[in-house]
Amino acid sequence: MNKRNEQILEFFSPKSPRDVSEVIYFDTGISAGFPSPADDFMQQRLSLDSELVKNKEATFFARVTGQSMIDAGLNDNDLLVIDRSLSPSNNRIAVCFLDGEFTVKRLKVKKGEVWLQPENKDYKPIKVTQENDFIIWGIVTNVIKKV
């Protein structure tokens, strides 16, 4: 993120996920004085929560460890937003449970085979077979990173 962008971002005041129900309170009073001309144009504050979480009940978070997906922009320690209600399909990035541990990879479905494709040339794709203990746990919708 470059300097200019950061400056633009300063104008937004996102609210914390805790007070999603918060609405703007028109606190200009009714007595003397000229009412604020901005009152009629008040809108909800921007909410990152409603932008990133489309289905609250089905959304979970996970932390990335390791480098296997760096080319897709998933770095070590990034925060993943996972929506379990979405259906898995070819090319989506999914959190899977494979042989005893959670892993995040790109799903590749071809000719009836399921592959877990890393996004790092040092890692090899994994073919999922009947022998594997395998669950597609949820679909990754967003990555949140500290800069």
Binding site: E57, F61, T65, R84
Partner: protein, 418 residues
Amino acid sequence: MFALVDCNNFYASCERVFNPNLQGKPLAILSNNDGCVIARSDEVKSLGLPMGAPAFKYKQFFIDHKVHVHSSNYPLYGDMSRRVMRILERFTPDVEVYSIDEAFLKFDGFENYDLESYGHEIRKTVLKWTGIPTCVGIAPTKALSKIANKIARKFPKETGGVYIIDNELKHLKALKWTPIEKVWGIGYSLQRHLIKKKCKTAYDFVQLSDLWVRQSFSITQWKLKKDLEGVSKIEMEQIKNKRAIATTRSFETTLTSFTDIKERISTFATSCAEKLRRQNSSCHMLIVFLRSNRFKTQSKQYRASTIVSIPFPTDSTLVISTNAVRAIESIFKKGIHYKKAGVILTGIVPSNNRQLQMFDHEDPRHKPLMSTIDRLNNKYFMKKLRLANQDLKRTWKMRQAHLSPQYTTNLKDIIKVK
């Protein structure tokens, strides 16, 4: 029509969502302070581990059978429960949350729906979105939907987790299949009474005369009988505010000094007052009790309780805590090894229609103070703002040796993916 949606082995299922390695393995969840078994997976049930088994007695059993043992993780269960209930609300506007893991759904105006496949859709959605398996029982009344649910649970292969009682034949079969002690709302004493009457199943119960049931028991049992007959008498309950609020705990170790007891009582009173404010109520009576360890029969036994009435309804932590501490002073005896204490608030009224009092009233400064405390404590983890007679160092009051992470309520605890 009504449906009862019940989560299968809810606590165990919650643990498994975030730790799929536990799938198919025997899993037991312990109560607060790791005292006894309060939830079991199917695998551990079939090993013969009883509900309520004291953990210390079954240590060897856990090792022998490779049972995974977890402390109860209420932040996780509470969050998962809320998710499940919200999802159910998408299927009908009429949802009664009956407990942490079950809810009644009412289907008014769903005549054109195939409710059985709707039930499967509910089940599938909850499972996919949250990972929690459920069973759905559908029937013309609430009491029958409970039975339908039991059938779905008992015969997963045949029913696919959904069973509907929608004709007379199924209705009769279900009643005859259900032993009287398994009928919803039939308590132990009632059951003994009914068995004397040779009433062994739900079917036998509905054969009794209405008059006899009403005369021998009460309107509640009559409503239950009608419900079982298929005539809906038990209605959906609105969310009721609790009529008593309690915080009672066994201590990790026995306590003897008054200072320690006072600290606990003040903490319990604080927690009660928070619960009270959360439901916008006030109280004007409180009960405190104190007792020794009744299992240590060789040491001196003592138990006492007392009731305090507060002249005005209050939801202030300060007032409630001061009164609770004063009350405990009056019953505390030296030289006893105390094991358990509690604070119970009663005489609960809605805060917004408190009666005005001529002479006694609460310090008006308490109200803004309490809302500030609640706001700050909600914002910061682990209740940072406390009364000065509470132990400031104490941050975790329970023994939870096998606690799983707070996967959904604490960013530090979320799952890690490679």
